[in-house]
């Protein structure tokens, strides 16, 4: 149950879901993961730490570089849990938040 809570918390943020989506295409280096996001590298580090704590990613040293890859097994826990309305409202509120973020960007 504790693990499920960690996983749910890890996937509750749109940035972390986007990172999971990116890593589903294969392992990536830290800067490659951070590149599409308009946030401080520090914030990405925190997101990755949360994903790591939930057991959803792992780091692997290859020569001088560290690659981060997805460990999707933990996501399976959620499959039995997520309610249809959880999905519905998450999508709606992502859109709603995105609308205001876009508005904020166009003001700058």
């Amino acid at each position: 149950m504790e693990h499920l809570t960690d996983v749910l918390s890890a996937i509750s943020h749109p940035t972390r879901r986007a990172i999971i989506k990116r890593l589903a295409n294969g392992p990536a280096r830290f800067l490659d993961i951070a590149e599409p996001f308009d946030v401080a590298l520090n914030a990405i580090t925190k997101h990755l730490k949360l994903l790591e704590r939930a057991g959803l990613i792992e780091r692997e040293k290859r020569g001088r570089e560290v690659f981060i890859s997805l460990r999707p097994e933990g996501l399976r826990l959620v499959a039995d849990w997520v309610h249809e309305y959880e999905r519905f409202w998450n999508e709606k509120l992502d859109e709603f938040e995105g609308y205001f973020k876009q508005k904020q960007r166009s003001k700058k």
Binding site: R17, A24, L75, W81, V82, E84, E86, W89, L93, D94
Partner: protein, 141 residues
């Protein structure tokens, strides 16, 4: 009539980069993306206490009655659709100032805990869209 159906509650939270008043007004504006009323094929919306709403999307009707409209802090209404299996569920949305932003919390309570509601496929799609096949390859699904 009392129902023996087991119910659950869904809570979703977001930080919205605007004031609670603006977020509140936007949530009741059908033109704003992400509101339940946006993209409705047919919409009737009267956001006052005891006012009703009806909206339909892809032929699925949704009905409800507003029970609280307290600008800028709280909106509450009932919610019935084929997905609530005849139960009158309740949606409560609160807007609280968080610095320059607004902490928006949506609680959908009284939802029937049915197999349909906990659809595996839909649950997966919520966060796995686009990479389910990769997961299958890795043996996780």
């Amino acid at each position: 009539m009392m129902s023996n159906t087991k119910t659950i509650e869904v809570t979703v939270e977001r930080t919205i980069p605007t004031s609670p008043g603006e977020a509140f007004d936007a949530w009741l504006n059908p033109k704003v993306p992400g509101t339940p009323w946006n993209m409705a094929e047919k919409l009737l919306l009267n956001p006052t206490v005891d006012g009703f709403f009806f909206w339909a999307i892809k032929g699925t009707p949704h009905y409800g009655r507003f029970t609280a409209v307290d600008r800028p802090g709280r909106i509450q209404h009932t919610w019935m659709s084929p997905n609530t299996s005849g139960l009158e569920s309740t949606v409560t949305v609160t807007f609280r100032g968080k610095g320059k932003d607004t902490l928006m919390t949506l609680v959908h309570a009284g939802l029937p805990d049915t197999d349909g509601g906990r659809s595996h496929e839909k649950g997966w799609n919520f966060f796995l869209d686009g990479f389910q096949s990769q997961l299958a390859k890795s043996g996780a699904v």
